[in-house]
Amino acid sequence: MKKFLIFLFVSSFIFGADAKLTIEKGGDARKSIAIIEANDSLGGSKGDTLYSILLADMKVSGHFLPSKEKIQGDFHSTVIPANLKSYQYILKYKLTTEAGLSLYVALYNASNGSAIFQKSYNMNSQSKYPFLAHKAISDINDALNLESIEWINRYVIFSRYTEPRKSEIVLADYTFNYQKTIIKGGLNLFPKWGDKDQKSFYYTSFSGKLPTLYRLNIYNGKKDAIATSAGMLVCSDVSKNGEKILATMAPEGQPDIYEIDVMSGAKKRITNFGGIDVGGRYVDDESRIVFVSNRLGYANIFKQSINGSSVVPVVNRGKNNNQCDAFGGKIVYASRETSSASSGNTFNLYLANSNGGNIYPLTASGENQYPRFSTNGKVVLFVKNSRDGSQIGYINLETKQSELFSLGGKKVQSIDW
């Protein structure tokens, strides 16, 4: 308590100074920033992990060039060490076990020591501490008027197989340092967030005779059965207002894409093809969808109006483009570039506009799958699979920086964020 009051006093002094800050517009040049851990910050594995998360947040934002080594110092000192004046900014932080877990951060202009931002964060649940770091960095990012990186505060939800015919659905922060299994037992797959606030998600349960789509509120446990279908049933996309979903269903044993009104349960068949149509995603203000189909004899990305039957191919390269995601006027898709029946295949990711133009490769080797745009469309999440398990990668589409986080030995089945 005493320390906190001292902290507040120092804060008022710092912020009372005549701060002069020059903010570079646009964020195209990364800001060099030295990270100073307070001498009395919580140590151990939690302290080490927090530091690595702060570092990862800065790198993946594409806006910062953090110092390479951890520096320690006095959190309350207003003196900028001479050897750090070459940086643009100084970030000081302190992690404590005050009231659960508290993180104090302060950002300074390195050249003149003026304070730019200062804030404390607290949570009761210590297991979710990675979110303290994410919130702090996204706030610092906002304080510098850089393009929002709000997506780092979001949950990632994914399913993974645990043994044949069994899986679990797991909630995580984007670095996977926080993980919580929220559904276990049985075969439950294809989690998909049901609303922009991430309060509920859809998933497919195989516990009954037929696949059933449920929506589960992760805070109160309320579970609603949305639809049942023979064959398969997957929620592929959710409309912006959450009132409609795109689902791959097969009531007659034929996988096609349907739009379901969540409130009324009314189903509208959008595609009608004797082969495979899956993975519908809303595009063009939800007036059209892009989806994966084998109607030309191989898996590829196609586009169709919600209310029409005319189908046009979107991508004109590759012979097995079997996954895609959409954001505004652009798509990201996975392409299988080898077809070995006896060993791992190469899957690469490509960015394109929703008409198939401006194709740009995002990966060059390995099994890169399940591409998902961030909520602002600036970053792509993907899964890099190998026989040893899965890694989750993030590619900043503007800076082309990427980060990989290990997910252990179990293979991801599906993922959303």
Partner: protein, 174 residues
Amino acid sequence: MKKNLILSITVLVLLGGCAQKAPNLSGNVSDATGFNGESVSTADGNGISSPNGAMIDGRYNSSSDGFQSIYFSFGAYNVESDMYSYIAKNAENIENIGGSQIKIEGNCDEFGTDEYNYALGLKRAKAVKEALVSKGISADKFVLVSLGESSPVCNEPTEICYSRNRRVDLRVSR
């Protein structure tokens, strides 16, 4: 709670009196919203029994109730000619079983990708159903489900193993 409130007010009062040019300094208080909501944890389903698969009469089989699994080529969902005799045998078995519904489960190797792989498994199940219907079995007799790559009978990184996973299993629906 009361302590936090006092601290928050103290922070606001102290900072409110500080003139400065730095951006976004409002709300410089303990920010717990969104952190402390605990998500639920639940169980859904006890799992479906996993087929082991066994070598019978020189062929692998992971179906039950007298049925024979049908195998497929890489990426394909057409019933190939070397499987016709097993389709005929399965049709006979259905006649012998009588009124029970038959579950047809489509499966894939691990090389496919999420939704597409499940659709591929479903197309395999549908192809087997249609082959059985062509033998005179009523289409109402069947329940189709795709298990995608979730139900492998073999996990070795060999072609023989992968080919055992590209299959359709049949069993009485219970």
